[in-house]
């Protein structure tokens, strides 16, 4: 199993969620985060004093998938989150040791 962590632009969340749903990924966790890679921040002005906004709002999407779904999920995210402009985000893939459904106690890919 894999845990796929994707950092995407906030307004792309719905597209990513729909794309994952279309390929059969049913569970998803979303967190509001701030960050930057190579995308620069911008300056804002408050009562004559300039200040730099470095940390840009992003959304972190986490999905746990079985190994055979991993490539399809990555492709779904990449296509739906892509705008072609700087700051589109990144995807990280981690090995997932185990997964458990709390309600029933199912483990492994049955828990996904």
């Amino acid at each position: 199993m894999k845990l796929i962590i994707a950092i995407v632009k906030p307004f792309k969340l719905d597209d990513v969620r729909n794309a994952l749903s279309d390929i059969g990924v049913q569970g998803i966790t979303v967190t509001e985060v701030k960050g930057f890679g190579r995308q620069k921040g911008h300056t804002e002005l408050y009562r004559g004093a300039e200040y730099v906004v470095d940390f840009l709002p992003k959304v972190k999407v986490e999905v746990a998938v079985s190994d055979d779904m991993s490539d399809k999920a990555v492709e779904a995210i990449t296509q739906s989150a892509n705008t072609g402009k700087i700051g589109d985000g990144k995807i990280f893939i981690m090995n997932l040791e185990s997964a458990i459904r709390i309600r029933t106690g199912e483990t492994g890919s049955e828990a996904l």
Binding site: E44, L45, Y46, R47, G48, A49, E50, Y51
Partner: protein, 413 residues
């Protein structure tokens, strides 16, 4: 029949005082929202607490001693007689009718109209010292400001003291209320120091306010309340001449605020390249303060210009104060002090009875008295219990440190 007319006029003018006073009371909500919007979220609860507490302390201190100091039964023009308590007695109908209309309003309605003004003066201080002052020190200062410092300088002008005798003109309080509040604020800010991180290595750092909608709401509430502030200061509405005067005061007040907003908006755009909402809000206040010394004599067109000049001055003053490392998170000293002085001077543009010399004299006396007295009391507080919260408290935020409460507890940082 004539007795009935006199009684009716008394009732109308009393009602007028009470309603206009209620409008000015509503300005306390305006200040609360404006200040809450311009500080960081971690300082919101404390500034709201200050605002409701200062209004209440002002109401009590003015009732206990301040009102009688400001409008004493006797005084030598500089030192008023000291009397305590208000009591609940008032005019009797037979006396009112017998006076032929000279006695035309309830004594208690006059108190009510005046007490909301002292609260306004005190609330100017709360914005300037925001985010780093100890709450207890602020409240103790409030007791002294509303019970002594404000009433004495108020006596010198509105209580018939020596400033009034010298020909100093201040219709609704650009000097007595706004400059006075700003002087006390400046004294406090100088002894307090700037917020941590505001001025570093010669750079002025922005500390953006947490809630622009609240700040804007607060400004609109103040604008509305100001119709009571200036309109009520005409003190009478029950005949054609007075009713017309009140109408003109309302129109001029509105015109000055509008002029202030437009001027500040455009001026900030020219200076910074962007439209700055917070400067526009300060512009409205600056315009309103500028017309407060004389909202009756000018034409509406002149009132708009006076307000516009106030709008430009408030922007300039904010910049100058920041460059001087005087940290005023809401621009209170600029809007009420700088524009208060301008408002007093602008009186001579439309009021032929006023002289530049008397206006400057009045401004100087009010400023000197308030600034020096405030410096003394802030100084005593600083020496005895301290006026500034600790650095750790400032890091975590004065809400948690002093009030044990967060304004938005569900939005964790």
């Amino acid at each position: 029949m004539e007795g009935q007319v006199i009684e009716l006029a008394y009732a109308l003018d009393t009602f007028y005082f009470l309603v206009m006073g209620a409008f000015v009371m509503w300005m306390a909500a305006g200040f609360s929202m404006l200040e809450a919007g311009l500080v960081r979220s971690k300082s919101t609860v404390e500034i709201l607490t200050k605002n409701i507490a200062l209004y209440s302390i002002a109401s009590i201190m003015y009732m206990l001693v301040g009102y009688n100091l400001m409008y004493p039964a006797e005084g030598d023009g500089v030192i008023p007689a000291v009397n305590f308590f208000l009591g609940s007695g008032d005019n009797v109908a037979a006396d009112v009718v017998a006076s032929g209309g000279d006695v035309y309003y309830s004594g208690l309605s006059d108190f009510f109209f005046q007490v909301v003004f002292v609260a306004t003066a005190m609330s100017i201080v709360s914005g300037a010292v925001a985010e780093r002052m100890k709450l207890s020190s602020f409240l103790l200062f409030c007791v002294v400001m509303t019970g002594l410092i404000y009433p004495i300088q108020g006596y010198w002008k509105w209580g018939g003291g020596f400033l009034d005798a010298a020909g100093f003109s201040d219709f609704a309080g650009s000097g007595v209320v706004h400059l006075c509040g700003a002087a006390a604020a400046l004294a406090g800010v100088l002894l307090l120091g700037a917020r941590k991180g505001k001025y570093e290595n010669g750079k002025i750092n922005a500390i953006p306010g947490a809630n622009m909608p609240l700040a804007t709401l607060g400004t609109f509430i103040l604008w509305l309340g100001w119709f009571g502030f200036n309109g009520g200061s005409e003190l009478m509405v029950s005949n054609v001449g007075e009713a017309n005067a009140v109408a003109l005061v309302f129109v001029n007040t509105n015109a000055a605020a509008a002029g202030g907003v437009v001027a500040a908006l455009l001026f900030a755009k020219i200076l910074f390249g962007k439209y700055d909402l917070s400067m526009s809000l300060n512009g409205a206040i600056g315009g309103l303060v500028s017309i407060t010394a004389e909202p009756l004599a000018p034409t509406p067109e002149l009132a708009a210009i006076i307000g516009a000049i106030g709008g430009i001055l408030v922007v300039l003053s904010i910049i100058v104060l920041d460059k001087s490392k005087i940290d005023d998170p809401v621009g209170a000293i600029s809007a009420h002090g700088t524009c208060g002085i301008w408002g007093l001077i602008a009186v001579v543009l439309s009021n032929g009875d006023a002289t530049l010399g008397a206006q400057i004299y009045g401004a100087a006396v009010i400023f000197a008295w308030t600034f020096v007295m405030a410096l003394i009391f802030w100084g005593i507080l600083k020496a005895v219990i301290g006026i500034r919260i600790s650095e750790e408290s400032e890091d975590v935020g004065v809400d948690v440190a002093e009030c044990g409460m967060e304004a938005y507890p569900e939005f964790k940082q």
